[in-house]
Subunit: 356 residues, 2 copies
C-alpha cells in the first residue's frame, strides 16, 4: 500500500517518469511480472554543486545524522504485539482477526496483501482474505464488507487500495464499520483526529508510524516547527494533524506552494510524502533537522539485478550530512506501516474484549 | 456564539483578564445583567515604540489598508438569501426551518439566540427554539434533538454553546443528524473538510465567513502563505482546512508556538482567532498582508457608557498602516457568522427539495 500511496499521489507530480515493464521481481519463491512506474536516473548533485545553489548554505562533507532504523523499531513493535496477543489469548481465549478485501488482480496489491497476511501470522493475528474479481460490482464489495462488519471474529477490515476505476472508493471505505476501520481512513476517524478533545478510534498506519519513530528515538515534537510535504488523505494530511496534536507548529507544503525550499528550511522536523525521488535537497534542510522520508520511489539502476532501486523523496547523500536524524529508504517508514496495522488490529480486539 | 467561541478559547490564554460585573447592557428595550470577561486596558503602543521593537521594521504613519466591511457583505448575503428563499417558496412552497436548542440561562447565549432568530425572520427562515433548564439531563437534550432530526420542516439544528458543565458536548453535538448539522461541527463534516476529494455537507459558519470575505474582496488565496492563529475546533482548525482546500500554504500558530511573531510575518493572509486583545502587533505583519481578525475582545473603557469596548486580536491602529486589507472589530467577521448560518440553513433546505 505504501508504494501505491505514493504513486497515487503523483497526480500532482512535477517531474516526468517512465513506465517500464519489469520482470523477475522476486517475492519469496514466486516470480511475478508487472508494470511499475520507474523514474529516470536523477542523482543528487555533488556537495560542491549544492553549495553553489545558495550563498547561505555550505554543505558539510561527512554524514553525521543518526539513522532512524524503521526495520529495527518495527521488529520491536511486532515483538511487543506478539507478547500482548499471547497474554490476551490466555486471558480471553481470543486472537485478533483482520480481514483484507482485495479487488482485481494488480500484482503489486497482491504482494502488499501477502506481506500483511504474513505479518499477521508472525504476531498471532488471524487473517482472512476476500479476493473479488476486477469486474465485480460495488454491491458485491459492499456485501463482502457488510459480512465482515457483522463477523465477531474480525476486529479490523482493510480494503486494499487502489480499487478498480469503476468502483466508488468513498462509498466503499465509508461502508467499513468505524469500530473496525484499522486503516483509519473513515472521515469520522479523520474528523476526530482533526478536533481537539476528540479521540479517533484508529489513526492511519503510515503517519502513525512516522510519529512512532519520533517517539521511539526520543525526538521531542512539542513546540517544534514541523513541515509536512504532501497533503494526501492517507499520509500528508493525517501526519500534519498528528504533529499538531503533539503541539508542533505545522506547515503543509504541496504542489501549489511557491517556495517549498525556503519553508522547509525553517523546519525542525520534516515529513516528506510526495513520491518525488530526491526532491528535498540538502539546501532545503536546516542543520540539525530531523527527517522522516515516506517516499519509496523506484529509479532506474542498470547495476541492479532488477533494473531499478528504491530512493526516498529526500536526497539521502546530502541530507545525512545536515540532518541530526534521518530515516533511510528502504528500511525507514516502510516497515512501520504494517507494524501499525497490526497495532491497530490489536487495539480494536482489546477494545472489544475490554482487555487492557 | 462568536464571543463565547473566543472566551472558550481562553484556556490557552497568556494575558490575564478580569471579570467585572456589567449592568445595563442594552439589548433593544430590555436591560440584562450578566458577567462578562473584560480585559484590562492594554493599548497598542505608538508607531515610534513599535518601530524600535525590531530593527528591520519601520512603521508607516498613515492608514493605508482597505477596510473589509463585514457588515456590508453580510447585508449583501442576507439580501441574496432573501431572494433565493422567495424563489424557493414560489417553486416548492416551503420556507427553510432552523431549530435552536438553548440549555440553561446564560444571558449572553440568550442574546446570541435572539440575534439568530431575528436574522432568520429578516430572510424568511422559520425559526423554532427549545429552551431547556440549566439542570436538564443529557437524555432530555438528546430527545429534543432527536425530535428535530425527525421533523421534516426543520432543515438545520443548532445547539447553542457552551452547554452547562454536566452535559457531554461531544455526545450532544454528535446527535445532530449530519444532514441538519448547519453549524458544521459534526466530526464527519470536519473529516470531509480535511480530506481531498470529499465534500462536507456544511462548513462551520465563522471560518466560512472569513473565506467568503476574502472571495468577495477578490483576494486570491491559491499559492499564498497563510497563517492561522488559534486552533479551536470551531474557528482556527476549520479555517486552516478551508485555506488549504483553496491551495494556500498554511501554518497554524497556537499557544505552544515558540516564535509566533516571526512565523506570522511570513504570511500573505493572517486569520487570527485566539481571543487576545491586540496580540498581533504591527511588527508581526508583512507589509501588504491581508488580515482577518476573528477576535471580539471586550477591554475596559471608562469613556464608554458600557464601561468597555470591543477590540480584535490584532492591534488595528498599527495593522491598518501595514496591511493591504483588514477587517475591523466590530463590523468585520462578526456579522458574517450569522449570515453563514442562514446560508447553511438555506443550502440544507435546497438539498432536501432538490432546488438548485
Amino acid at each position: 500500500m505504501m508504494a501505491s500511496t505514493i504513486f497515487n499521489d503523483c497526480s500532482s507530480c512535477i517531474l516526468p517518469f517512465n513506465k517500464i515493464q519489469l520482470r523477475f521481481l522476486h517475492l519469496g519463491r514466486s516470480v511475478v511480472h508487472f508494470r511499475i512506474n520507474v523514474y529516470p536516473i536523477k542523482p543528487c548533485i555533488t556537495p560542491t554543486q549544492a553549495a553553489s545553489l545558495t550563498t547561505t548554505f555550505a554543505m558539510p562533507s561527512e554524514p553525521s545524522a543518526k539513522v532512524i532504523d524503521g526495520k529495527l523499531v518495527a521488529k520491536q513493535i511486532r515483538d511487543e504485539i506478539t507478547s500482548e496477543i499471547s497474554k490476551m489469548k490466555e486471558a480471553v481465549g481470543i486472537n485478533p482477526g483482520l480481514a483484507v478485501v482485495l479487488v482485481g488482480d494488480r500484482k503489486d496489491s497482491a504482494i502488499y496483501v501477502q506481506n500483511k497476511k504474513k505479518a499477521c501470522d508472525t504476531v498471532g493475528i488471524i487473517s482472512r482474505e476476500s479476493l473479488l474479481p476486477e469486474d465485480c460490482t460495488e454491491e458485491e464489495v459492499l456485501k463482502c464488507i457488510s459480512e465482515y462488519n457483522k463477523d465477531p471474529s474480525i476486529h479490523g477490515i482493510l480494503v486494499q487500495l487502489p480499487l478498480p476505476q469503476h468502483l466508488n472508493e468513498e462509498n466503499i471505505l465509508n461502508a467499513v464499520n468505524i469500530d473496525k476501520d484499522v486503516d483509519g481512513f473513515h472521515p469520522l476517524n479523520i474528523g476526530r483526529l482533526a478536533m481537539r478533545g476528540r479521540e479517533p478510534l484508529f489513526v492511519p498506519c503510515t503517519p502513525k508510524g512516522c510519529i512512532e519513530l519520533l517517539h521511539r528515538y526520543n525526538i521531542s515534537i512539542k513546540g517544534k516547527r514541523a513541515v509536512v510535504i504532501g497533503r494526501s488523505n492517507i499520509v500528508g494530511m493525517p501526519a500534519a494533524l498528528l504533529l499538531q496534536r503533539e503541539d508542533a507548529t505545522v506547515s503543509i507544503i504541496h504542489s501549489r506552494t511557491e517556495n517549498p525550499e525556503e519553508i522547509t528550511r525553517e523546519a525542525d522536523i520534516i515529513i516528506s510524502a510526495v513520491g518525488q525521488p530526491n526532491m528535498v535537497r540538502g539546501s532545503w534542510i536546516k542543520p540539525g533537522a530531523v527527517i522522516i522520508d515516506v517516499g519509496i520511489n523506484p529509479v532506474e539502476d542498470s547495476k541492479s539485478r532488477r533494473g531499478y532501486r528504491l530512493v526516498g523523496d529526500v536526497c539521502y547523500e546530502e541530507a545525512c550530512k545536515i540532518a541530526s536524524a534521518i530515516t533511510p529508504v528502504p528500511g525507514g517508514v516502510g516497515p512501520m506501516t504494517i507494524a501499525m496495522l497490526l497495532s491497530n488490529t490489536l487495539t480494536s480486539a482489546k477494545r472489544v474484549y475490554n482487555f487492557v
